[in-house]
Symmetry: D2
Subunit: 338 residues, 4 copies
């Protein structure tokens, strides 16, 4: 931690800072500047709570933390990239798996039909929501356990592993019985009670970034899972909330290289929720492959105009098939496969 003193802070104020720091267990090093002094404090990392109080002492302008608050997600702790295996589908390696399926599970026939189609087109996992966190309580909330059963049948029919959202710590056990990977939605990225619970399970977790979560907070959120023992976390960028309304969210595609630099965890892209309009999903998917994403999760619905949720951003099976072809060409150009 660096303590920046105010211009004109007194020697006594400086002494108070070094003394307080030493009481908190830090050793301190004063650097005399031309305008002002700064004090470097050396000690145990991660004690931000107690460290912050130094910022309030008289004569202190501000404090600057040096060590990162996350550990297990960091490249500094684990330099080589993690490859997360979900029933044989590997995220984080040369291959770029595509997860596809409807926003919400509506009926058995539709889900199985979709699953068969996306498998034929080259998708490696099936997505579908049985618990839907909707902005309004009057919108469709999902089929719950019946939805999970339908997903399990689609897996049986196609062999595709399934990923589905869990929104309540109470339902972790129930979802565990059916899912191959848990999904935590953007609104729950800092639902720490839920994350800790998932950290105690042995199934992978797809943790979506919140729409106003910084990358540092996002990696901190993964620590709630990792520190409980579950090392199988896949990250997913799905768009930030900004002032721009032409898209549902603003896809922060830079998050891919930034996260790859800071963390060993795989990072995939959800172009559907970012775009909010089907016609932008294809372009964003191609950009995701080119920038080095470790996977994609794309909404596909046999009849988007009849979908119970998110129809506007779902691709038809035909559009999806065509997109898979385009993405494959780009993957090839960068030396990867889809």
């Amino acid at each position: 931690m660096i303590v920046v003193m105010k211009i004109g802070a007194s020697q006594e104020e400086l002494n108070n800072v070094t003394q307080a720091a030493e009481e908190l267990g830090f050793s301190s090093h004063v650097i005399e500047g031309k305008e002002r002094n700064v004090v470097g404090l050396v000690g145990i990392a991660g004690q931000r709570d107690k460290m912050n109080v130094i910022g309030q002492l008289a004569g202190v302008e501000n404090i600057v933390p040096i060590s990162k608050p996350y550990k297990l997600a960091s490249r500094e702790v684990k330099p080589e990239p993690s490859i997360i295996d979900v029933c044989g589908v590997k995220f984080g390696g040369e291959n770029i798996p595509v997860i596809a399926g409807p926003c919400s599970v509506e009926n058995e026939e539709g889900v199985i039909k979709t699953a068969e189609f996306i498998k034929a087109a080259g998708a490696q996992m099936l997505r579908g929501g049985a618990f839907k966190p909707r902005t309004s309580p009057y919108s469709f909330q999902g089929l719950e356990e019946d939805g999970l059963k339908i997903l399990a049948k689609a897996r049986e029919a196609t062999g595709l592993p399934i990923v589905t959202e869990v929104t309540n710590p109470r339902y972790v056990d129930m979802v565990y019985k059916y899912a191959d990977m848990f999904q935590v939605g953007a609104r729950n990225v800092q639902n720490f009670a839920l994350l800790s619970e998932l950290g105690k399970t042995d199934k992978p977790v797809l943790l979506k970034r919140g729409m106003s979560t910084t990358i540092e907070e996002y990696l901190n959120a993964t620590e709630y899972i990792l520190s409980e023992g579950n090392k199988n976390v896949i990250l997913c960028e799905r768009g930030l909330r900004t002032f721009e309304t032409a898209t549902r969210n603003t896809l922060d595609i830079s998050a891919v290289p930034v996260i790859k630099e800071k963390s060993h965890l795989p990072i995939i892209i959800d172009p559907s929720h970012a775009a909010g309009h089907w016609q932008y999903v294809g372009p964003l998917s191609k950009a995701a492959v080119a920038i080095g994403a470790d996977g994609l999760i794309i909404e596909v619905h046999p009849e988007p105009e009849k979908a119970w949720s998110d129809g506007a951003q779902s691709l038809t099976p035909t559009q999806f098939l065509k997109l898979m072809g385009s993405m494959r060409s780009i993957a090839l150009a960068i030396g990867r496969t889809i």
Copy 2:
């Protein structure tokens, strides 16, 4: 719902829209414009899911919803303001109650001492966190049930009702035993599983606005509580996430008049989390009273420089006492009391 057609959309595309709308149960009214046509659809409100699909039909530029997605929170349903009574403390009337106390419950002696002090200064409720949702799992997470017991003792000692945060649907019953009002933090504003559970209880809920929640989404979130039967919801603005870093968050003080226009629910201000620095808490509190907030929730700690969390934004008892005086003068100037 208004359907805006593209310039140059064909008659057939227009017919498809009106036909699809009628199949969905709407009656349609075409308005022929100079550049393009628009179609007004009349029908049952709140069917946004199914309505959205019309936006995808060929020739449609975009769609504009007319009815608000929230009902029970709306002034249109209940024009007169709601007064929420928490063990005799009334939010939403002429009086402006101040809730005060430490960020987190640390020990019995400190909490009781703080409670006695803030009561003497004129605060009407005690706040204190026993479950702390912290960005990092390595930060202090709260004393949990032991913390709740300390709060209950402070209530016994002072008679001040207590408000404390609940973060997990599993702990609603436990917190219910001790608290007079539940608090839902900003990160959980769209934790719908938690909100629904609180909607089934009979104790008031202080629901904080998320740092990137629009006012419309915020009022929708209250519907998860209200629609389960619990009508006692108090809103709380505590700052938005913006690019500005001089303050921890950007207090959206306009939310007070906006919410008062759209909703009958009381709205209070949390200046401490917005400011992030104690020296801005006083000015923001005074602005909150002047703009018409129905209450405040302010962090006070006997020794902020030793607080386990949020010390930087906590007032000392002396600062709080002085602020209460300033706020009282302003309340008087606008015909209210504190």
Copy 3:
């Protein structure tokens, strides 16, 4: 400047940093931490350009500047508050002047009538736009010099000093002939060519904050005026761009105490552009007085429903008169006058 080295950076990388720093004229102080090293560099402030390059050396995690980039606007250079005098109207003292008038100058009769009315209500300056920077070139762009002449006549009729916007360095001379204070709009806050030109004049400048300008950038922008010799700058917060659409912009009312802490320059509030809807202008104005703003600039139009621009956010004369009364009570409560 503090240089944070990567965990595991080599001794050679550390040496390269200290050597490069010394070549750039800094003296360097290495602090050995438990996880990583940091290097404090002491030297001439304000050389950010050249300093940044150190951030790119191998083994460097990031760099942290210590000195502030602005000087003349800073409290560190001038601790006591500046009082800016505009033809006898003083901003920055105990009195809180109110500037009022229409968004744009439309015709002589209307402007003079408005000026007389606002003067009677207690406003101390007249505002009105003759050059209007409008989002679309097809919107009304202002009466230009004819508008300035009308403003001058209104000054003659009432004695109120006038403030009006200048948008083009070419027109600084023309506006100078008529105005008592230049206004620079939010879109031009970083139009440095314009600011430098105004810095060479001897009339005060009302510089509005941009809708996405940080406070640090804002104070930097004032340096373009101050460093040319013109010390008479008044700041004005008028709302940030955020995701919230219930108001036209999100008024960052915290900017008042933050700027008062960092700078000696007066800061006033424009509630009209922040709100975008007349019904929120009154509440925001009252909050502005309570928080300690040094003035207000409020749009008033004799018939808002016929205004050529910004009618939706203009107060009628009657609404303005009532608001002046409310603001006076609050000013009294905090020991100031309006």
Copy 4:
């Protein structure tokens, strides 16, 4: 325009709206809804100023504009894409031109050396700043006309057309003498005085999007150029201001498909200013090609660690050469060339 009436608005209020609309020259069509009425107004587009006043009438909830405020930039006016020719370099066609060069012009030898290098690597235009709008007046402001002369010499030496920034309407004539394309920086995107002046010239304009400019405002800004007669405008996305600080700005890569849908103008990407760190420039450039951008503008400096500005985000010639190869493979994969 659609006028949404309040629930419970009276018949008299409705009549006032239709009457006011008719006085303003609109014909009105009332649609009776189940909860409330809406009124469709048909009339001349683009009269937003006068239309807004209807929003203030009693009983009106809000108003919804239907027609877009921009015309000449719109696909509705010109459906086929525009190809902008800058001395033989074509933007908007199958080929994707790359513009490269240093942030600021520092000396003749360096610029010519860089120009020769980037030409050899396949760049088709040279960039370099002679007028630098810097956040602080104490940062390097550019060599001004001397810088322009150096650029002209580099053009002579290499045949590469040059693009350079103009920041002041006063200097348009001077820059015109040297540049092949004007650049307007992000801070000046709504400097309408400057845009109008450029609209009167016959050289192409590269207009960068502001960091908090919506796409609608951005296209409106182009109208200031287009409506003066200059049809040669190239758009450039360079990152939005958000809360995320890991990158200098958040590249809104979705702007490419959105703008291509709404406008016929070419849109290129500036990955350097968005990233702010050289290591992210390559990934963003590849994403830009994959998503369909019509060009790139990339900062290249022979010795970034000695650059006078933006060194941290500049590529070395070797990094640039390698990136050109990667981009070419991706261009090939999507059927385009670089």
